[in-house]
Subunit: 246 residues, 2 copies
């Protein structure tokens, strides 16, 4: 009948919107990556849930669309953060072409960029670029080009997937590229486990970030623009109101 | 006592997170731009609300921090979308330096980029850049540079404040800059009044967007990357799972 792609926000629970909650309540089958269905299992104990492991994205989306198109079910596909930012929303549309027509709705959630920014202070209050350092689906050269251009244009940069086992030095390489046009003293920050137990953050310089080994795959990284400052221990990018002279 | 900067999401109501709702309920004074306090007045009828008009951002933030620092109140500053994306979060930190120390918390909300993307389909499923076309606080040359670099690096581009009375031709100028590195057939979309009454959207080409007069200050605009496509009437940027050959 219908597939609703639902964003849970960074840690589900308190960051869930009313609309996301109603979409889950109204579904008769929940599909998601195991770590995400686990996030909501306690809150929706009576729901039938189908989960698959990492890197099974296409299978999982086909399973969801098939259940809607062939079994007439109301399916909610749950994603951490926002399903439209590196989430399953795009893939659900792509996969849906293989089946009889089904209605698709996307319910937005708080993406990690916004959730983590709120922990650090206000790093994204001016123009920003969001870049994933994962080269599983994107050639590294394209990622490099984006880092280079974003740094050159003085965007605040938010990095998803900054590190994983197979990509131990990608964050270092990204910092090197950015340092071609930004000083090593640029204010940076990162947040681990946003909205979940074990949430921690740190504010540091771009030079320090380059050598930082604490950043893992559950971390979101922020590189400030030329105006980003530390105010009382928070990372803040001014929008320009005060600078206008009020 | 405390200032909580709260994101209402695109249209408050259903897009409000549980955490945002509790922050408003727990505050004894709500401060915001008139259009935003109006969004929540029906839902929180007993709350004292202080609102000011457009372009009074610094006054409004000082009012909020003063009430917390000097009168010991629990103040919620409400913003449409996410307070950390062109919202009041940064300014609250800046202004707080003028007063005795107060606790500041930012409660994220669904920003227009994510809210509008969900209406169009999944335009932001790959790396993207968010750029405001308002030159009230940013020199136009800096905006041009960001448009140029974002287009060159094949980011999906999301434009906030694409047009206002004083800037009738800015969207046209932005499209001209982007068309230096993107074909006129690039898939674009826009959404008006996201999450509010009168929500409408349109999917069109970059060439059509250039001449489009329907875009106003309540519109969020999306310019696809080289892979963005139209699938069953939705704007979708593939993440690359299908292209990997599954």
């Amino acid at each position: 009948m219908k597939v609703t792609v639902v964003g849970l926000g960074p840690g589900a629970g308190a960051d869930l919107t009313g609309r996301a909650r109603r979409a889950i309540e109204g579904a008769d089958l929940i599909v998601g990556y195991t770590a995400y269905t686990d996030l909501i299992r306690d809150e929706f104990p009576d729901k039938e849930m189908l989960s698959t492991g990492m890197k099974k994205e296409v299978d999982r989306c086909r399973m969801a669309v098939r259940a809607a198109a062939e079994e007439g079910r109301n399916v909610a596909v749950v994603c951490s953060g926002d399903p439209g930012v590196y989430g399953m929303a795009g893939l659900i549309y792509e996969v849906s072409r293989e089946f009889a027509p089904v209605e698709i709705e996307v319910v937005p959630g708080i993406t990690a960029a916004c959730g983590g920014a709120a922990v650090l202070g206000a790093p994204l209050t001016h123009d920003f670029a969001v870049i994933s350092l994962s080269d599983l689906l994107t050639p590294w050269e394209k990622i490099e080009k984006r880092l280079e251009c974003a740094a050159e244009a003085d965007f605040v940069i938010c990095l998803y997937n900054p590190r994983s086992r197979g990509r131990a030095d990608y964050l270092e390489r990204a910092c090197d590229i950015i340092m071609r046009s930004r000083p090593a003293g640029t204010v940076c920050g990162y947040v681990k486990n946003i909205g979940r137990s074990g949430e921690t953050y740190r504010i540091l310089s771009l030079g320090e970030l380059r050598g930082c080994t604490d950043v893992d795959m559950f971390t979101t990284v922020y590189i400030g623009n030329s105006q980003t400052a530390v105010i009382n221990g928070n990372m803040v990018t001014p929008r320009g109101y005060m600078q206008r002279g009020e």
